[in-house]
Amino acid sequence: MGFELEGVGLIHDNGFRALGRISLRADRGERVAVIGPSGAGKTSLIRLLGTALRPSEGRLEILDANPWRLSAGALRRLRTRVGTIHQSPPIPPRQRVVTAIHAGRLGRWPAWKGLLSLLYPVDIAGAQATLARFDLADRLFERCDRLSGGQLQRVGIARVLYQQPDLILADEPVSALDPALADAALGELVEESVRRGASLFASLHAVDLALKWFPRIVGLRDGEVAFDLPADRVTEAMLHELYAAEGDTLPVQARDAATCAARARSSCN
């Protein structure tokens, strides 16, 4: 099992309810996309699954274990098997790319190996191979603050792939990438999940990307599950209802691409 939520709710310290009582289950190796308007609770849900937040109510199991009933050591071991891709990569600006990638596996390495790697990177080949999947192999020794936003986001994805987790969580992982790169990066994530049998749970802004790459779509609105269906049974009407608060147009990658291209053309003339 990838994860299972039963009546899980989240109420922030200030009393704001981010998630209602959500019940959701994903099998091992399953790929699920969560979509919904901003403020729907997508990030909160991902942080709950990543054990960064503790649920206020309900039962939560990650990779067949209840993280909040585990001992500190067992929780650490469980966390090494869960990798979270953040929308803005949490990488110190002055860190080298190779170090940022290696940081993905620090939970599995003994402490001495992690510290030694600061003096001389212990697995240059492994980091380079992971970066190569995102066309960034030549940036291995670049400092992260010298990368563009899109490059940094791809380094953030590469770091989690290097971690080799059994459950990959992704919070808008391709929001800073142009359409072609976004498509390729999602393809790599899906490929990793298929090859290693890892569950993949990703929140996406672009509905068409979700429908293209994920067999199962969860619609989230106001902290509640609006629908949870195979991708081919999600209808245009459902999507419009989900995004009703954001106007008539659905957020999709392709249209963004079209407008971008149009803008580029007009500025050329």
Binding site: P92, R94, L106, A111, G114
Partner: protein
């Protein structure tokens, strides 16, 4: 209409700045009272015989003693002063970082209060007082100087490091903890890169100050150039004292230049 305007009529100094006027008056009064209390004889300072005796005193420092034997001794003293400052600052850097971790509030409010109290205590005692205490505790010599500099500088650097750690973004370290990293490694990979350049710059700045301080600490018996200076001045060997003073000047210039270079290189 005229009734509503009345409060805006200027009333002289009171409206302009009452506290400015009062502060200025108090300052002037304090300065005048200080001069009266200290009874300084300024006319004597600018008299003819004062000028000639100042001139004679200054001239007695020249020429400096440049005999090879004494130069070697001075170089040795300069090296000792340099070593005292470097070792003292390094020890303070390590101890300061160790104190800064609890002082930044990462290990609870109680530990933070205790660490801050210790840092404040170390910082509020000046180096010279620490040196006097350390000479009593550890005996005459450079070791007392190292301890004195390390104790005071730990207080200073610890507080600066703690502030840097507090201001560093928490997400990088938190994300590593969420991926199962141990606490030490998560700090080293997540927070230290954001804190490191600033901390090293602080450390180099303190090193520059400690070079000057180490030269002075010799006066209370903590070795190095200061002790030589004190010795030769107290037996009226001004030529030797001049050599030592020049050595101090050169040492300070060299270290300032080096640490400027190092800081510029780190800023890249």
């Amino acid at each position: 209409m005229s009734g509503t305007r009345e409060p805006c009529e200027p009333r002289g100094a009171i409206d302009f700045c009452l506290s400015c006027v009062l502060t200025s008056a108090l300052l002037v009064a304090a300065v005048v009272a200080s001069f009266a209390y200290l009874d300084i004889d300024f006319p004597a300072l600018f008299s003819h015989e004062a000028a000639t005796s100042i001139g004679r005193f200054a001239a007695s420092f020249f020429p400096p003693d440049l005999a090879p034997g004494f130069l070697r001794k001075t170089a040795w003293g300069a090296l000792q002063t340099f070593a005292v400052a470097v070792v003292g600052t390094l020890l303070a850097g390590v101890a300061g970082l160790l104190c800064a971790l609890p002082a930044s509030g990462r290990h609870g409010a109680g530990a933070a209060r205790l660490a801050r109290f210790v840092l404040n205590l170390l910082r509020s005692v000046p180096e010279l007082v620490w040196a006097t205490l350390m000479v009593l505790a550890a005996g005459l010599g450079p070791f007392a100087g190292v301890l004195a500099l390390a104790l005071h500088t730990t207080g200073v650097l610890g507080r600066l490091f703690a502030e840097a750690i507090e201001n560093a973004p928490p997400q990088p370290e938190q994300s590593l903890v969420d991926a199962g990293c141990g606490a030490v490694v998560a700090f080293v990979y997540g927070t230290l890169p954001s804190v490191w350049p600033q901390s090293v710059a602080y450390g180099l700045y303190r090193l520059e100050m400690n070079i000057r301080m180490a030269a002075v600490l010799g006066f209370v018996g903590a070795g190095g150039l200061g002790q030589m200076l004190y010795y030769h001045l107290s037996i009226f060997q001004q030529a030797q004292a001049a050599t030592v003073l020049i050595a101090m000047f050169v040492l300070v210039l060299v270290v300032d230049a080096l640490s400027d270079r190092l800081r510029a290189w780190m800023e890249r």
